[in-house]
Symmetry: C2
Subunit: 198 residues, 2 copies
Amino acid sequence: MAAAKQTSAQPRRRADAQRNIERILDAALEALTDDLDASMTEIARRAGVVRATIYVHYPTRDELLDAVTARAFSEIGEAIAAADPQRGEPIDALRRVVAATWRKLGRYHALVAITTARDTSEEVHERHAGVLDQLLPLVRRGQHSGAFRADVPADWHLSMLIALIHAASAEVRAGRVDDHDAEAAVTATVIGALARPA
Amino acid sequence: MAAAKQTSAQPRRRADAQRNIERILDAALEALTDDLDASMTEIARRAGVVRATIYVHYPTRDELLDAVTARAFSEIGEAIAAADPQRGEPIDALRRVVAATWRKLGRYHALVAITTARDTSEEVHERHAGVLDQLLPLVRRGQHSGAFRADVPADWHLSMLIALIHAASAEVRAGRVDDHDAEAAVTATVIGALARPA
DNA sequence: TTGAACTCAGACAGCGCTGTCTGATTTACT
DNA sequence: AGTAAATCAGACAGCGCTGTCTGAGTTCAA
């Protein structure tokens, strides 16, 4: 079993073990963002542990990737919930959601690429379910109210939203746009892409 | 030197060699679309040749990837030129360009991912230059005329355009939208993303 | 028809990765 | 203070890949 969030049913984990788990997950995300094929050796180096220590916590590379991805989606889900997507006009709610999530989502592009390549599309969809379940209602009510174009499936809008956020993040990483300008730009671009034409 | 397009300066290539080169490039594109890490063994299998035959024409894996990518960008450049991006209103020209290129561009996502991961951003930019040189004037004149939003760099619009096309193609490959509906949808989504709000 | 270009069919070496192992050492919880 | 949890520091085996090689056989252009 991979390292799991501690529960009262398990013996307490030593503090240094808990610290190492966080460092391993952080290092994995960073290494994989730089190189989709980053090795366990490279991840261990960045985490400041020996390779065998990773295997203590995550018996295989895939289990490590699953853990990093689960953590990422959990964080995004929390950010979306905090943006309160059900409240107010769909366009306003979409603004809040994009502002709340674009930076995080952009960082997770590598994980999306890796899991998309590795898993079946059902597995990928299931992994995204926590996030999709929060966003689909917003897209649907926007389509119903006439704020968003309704001649495409709601899934289409979500795919376009995620693609634009990843592209925006790439522009920032490439240094072509600064972070502050990018926030206004990605918000406007997303709204333009989803909104029903006037 | 990698297998190059035949010129009068070179001895004529045998017909079966020419056929194999085309099949190798086709097989490489197909295999890499399915798996970014597709092996030379897999590419040879799909091409119906032995591995050593690929090495006769492309001494390294990277040279093969370069050849596939060069061919892809050449095709896209031709499709863009055929769409006549300098003619007419910017929105109309953008429609023509998207209609002419979205299917091809969508198929080359794997190559973009691979070369982006491998090369420096200068190298990637240089590789895209033939395509960017044709599209940047369209974006700039659209920004100048007020048709496209001008509060972001022209590069921003191009990145968003390409991201949306790739996402659209992924929706079609996933079977969530059919090809015909996707064309109308991607055109509308791109125009919405780039256009200055009314 | 001839002969060079081209391909085939393996075999081989080297590399880097993943996962496992073990005894020694360190950390930290009770 | 004691001791179990955790980590370290390599070493090891197996795997699959890339690139190279060679002699035999096939293809095709002149």
